[in-house]
């Protein structure tokens, strides 16, 4: 075990929280700050550069999810995309019905808009998940009423990595004439995403989860979907999403999604082998369990609970060894509640407390994994030796 004071390079394993922006992506962005800075809505020459850059980026995003280019709309991130999809469909279709179906383990960017809509008179069904975090397609089907206007189920969960049965839910949605939105923020760059094959009507994505810039995202809206605007104002994005376009951000998003989806199979294979090495190593520590689905999981997601100890303490110790990770512990959440995802999978609060999420990225190596595996057992032991729960 290396001493924390020595110069250990940062082993960043929190890619599900955010990624660094690729230097190549930054380089692509920079000219649009200072040189081609024109407002794309303007008719003069320098603005033409901005407009063309946006359309090129739109094509790249569309290619990545097999969408028609003109059905991709740029937003300020995954949160805005989720808010737009859910509130936009709700308000535009309230004459048709007031019922929305989602799951208990969605990201807050889905859950909180749903809760807010409940205050505005909508009904929301929060479907339970099994112990692996999977929602049942039958449950989705059974929840549909003649009032149902939207089903929103995430592509893959950000905490436990479980992949949901998107294609099947898309099928059920289509059979029942209900719109289907999926939050694919964690899926892009890890899994194949195809809005056509998967019967997806609306899809959210966020740039900073795949080496793109923060504050950028997109919403795919299938042709014909009835949806209100969310950001009202100027005529940008074909009058669908107002606000002066974040040109450098959009350029960066386009660059990043092209890079990350260009060789997704090989990338996923590499991530999966690191992931499994990490999982197997960590599960050798006693009183330790894997959260999420053993196989239907994001190739870069590791989520382990260690009994008797608390996650923030693990993170702080890891930080002293230059390892960056995440936890679903109540102590790190602003609400002081343990992760609704872990609780949703049936974990008792005190167990959820000891969760550790390691999410891998392209710069991680086998060496990094082995370094983490060399450090974690000692940290766990040390914290358990302070814990009043280990002794009867």
């Amino acid at each position: 075990m290396q001493n924390s004071e020595e110069e250990q390079k940062l082993v960043y394993m929190d890619h599900a929280a955010t990624t660094s922006t690729d230097p190549e992506v930054v380089n692509a962005m920079v000219p649009y700050f200072t040189e081609y800075f024109g407002n794309p809505s303007s008719p003069y020459t320098i603005a033409k550069e901005s407009e063309e850059a946006i359309e090129k980026a739109r094509e790249k995003v569309a290619n990545a999810i097999n969408a028609k280019t003109d059905r991709v709309f740029f937003t300020s991130g995954g949160t805005e995309s989720d808010n737009w999809a859910i509130k936009g469909v709700a308000f535009a279709n309230k004459n048709k019905g007031n019922h929305i179906i989602t799951t208990a383990i969605e990201h807050h960017a889905v859950l909180h808009p749903c809760e807010w809509l409940e205050k505005q008179g909508f009904d929301v069904t929060y479907l339970p998940v099994d112990k692996y975090g999977r929602v049942s397609v039958d449950d989705v089907r059974d929840a549909i009423t003649d009032q149902t206007i939207l089903i929103t189920v995430m592509f893959a969960n950000n905490e436990i990595g479980t992949i949901e049965p998107i294609e099947e839910i898309g099928e059920v949605a289509r059979e029942n004439g209900v719109y289907f939105h999926t939050d694919a923020v964690q899926a892009i760059g890890q899994l194949l995403v195809d809005v056509e094959d998967m019967n997806i009507d609306l899809l959210s994505l966020s740039g900073h989860k795949f080496y793109g810039p923060k504050g950028t995202g997109a919403l795919y809206i299938k042709k014909g979907v009835k949806i209100d605007n969310f950001m009202h104002g100027g005529a940008q994005e074909k009058q669908r999403r107002a606000g002066t376009e974040n040109v450098p951000g959009i350029v960066g998003l386009g660059e990043a999604i092209e890079h990350v989806t260009s060789d997704i199979e090989n990338h996923a294979k590499r991530m999966q082998s690191l992931r499994d090495r990490l999982i197997n190593g960590l599960l050798e520590i006693p009183k330790t369990h894997l959260c999420g689905h053993p196989t239907e999981r994001l190739p870069n997601n590791v989520n382990i609970v260690f009994e008797y100890i608390e996650g923030e303490s693990i993170l702080l110790m890891l930080d002293s060894y230059s390892i960056a990770a995440s936890t679903g512990s109540a102590c790190t959440s602003a609400s002081l509640e343990p992760s609704h995802v872990l609780v949703g999978c049936g974990l008792p609060h005190e167990i959820a407390h000891g969760s550790l999420r390691l999410s891998l990225g392209k710069e991680n190596t086998e060496e990094d994994v082995d370094y983490v595996l060399s450090v974690v057992p000692n940290i766990i032991e040390r914290l358990r030796s302070m814990s009043p729960m280990t002794i009867k």
Partner: protein, 137 residues
Amino acid sequence: MAMYSKKVMDHFMNPRNVGEMENPDGVGEVGNPKCGDIMRMYLKIEDNIIQDAKFMTFGCGAAIASSSMATELIKGKTLEEAWDVSNKAVADALEGLPSIKMHCSVLAEEAIHKAINDYRQKQNLPLWGEKEEEKPE
């Protein structure tokens, strides 16, 4: 997320007085109602003076550092003085805690109180209360 002072990190990374105690004179275990964590404090008391203190904590960095600092603060003090060590005193000694972590220092104050009263109970002394007017003068 709010981050910790150097002092907090020191007491978290190198906690003082951590561990179990053989034959303690008083033990207090409290749970943090906010986030569900647990702190247990052991006291060794002689002549109304806290000779030694130890703790075991299941909680965040602030909880562990507060436990460590609290045990340091009360060692050598009379029970009356130790009773008066407030959560604010613990936080101040740690050079401050983020506001969303103040409740973790409350855990330490409560654990001290509970351990002192455990001792007083064993000694058949009247228990001290939490409210201002019931505190020892």
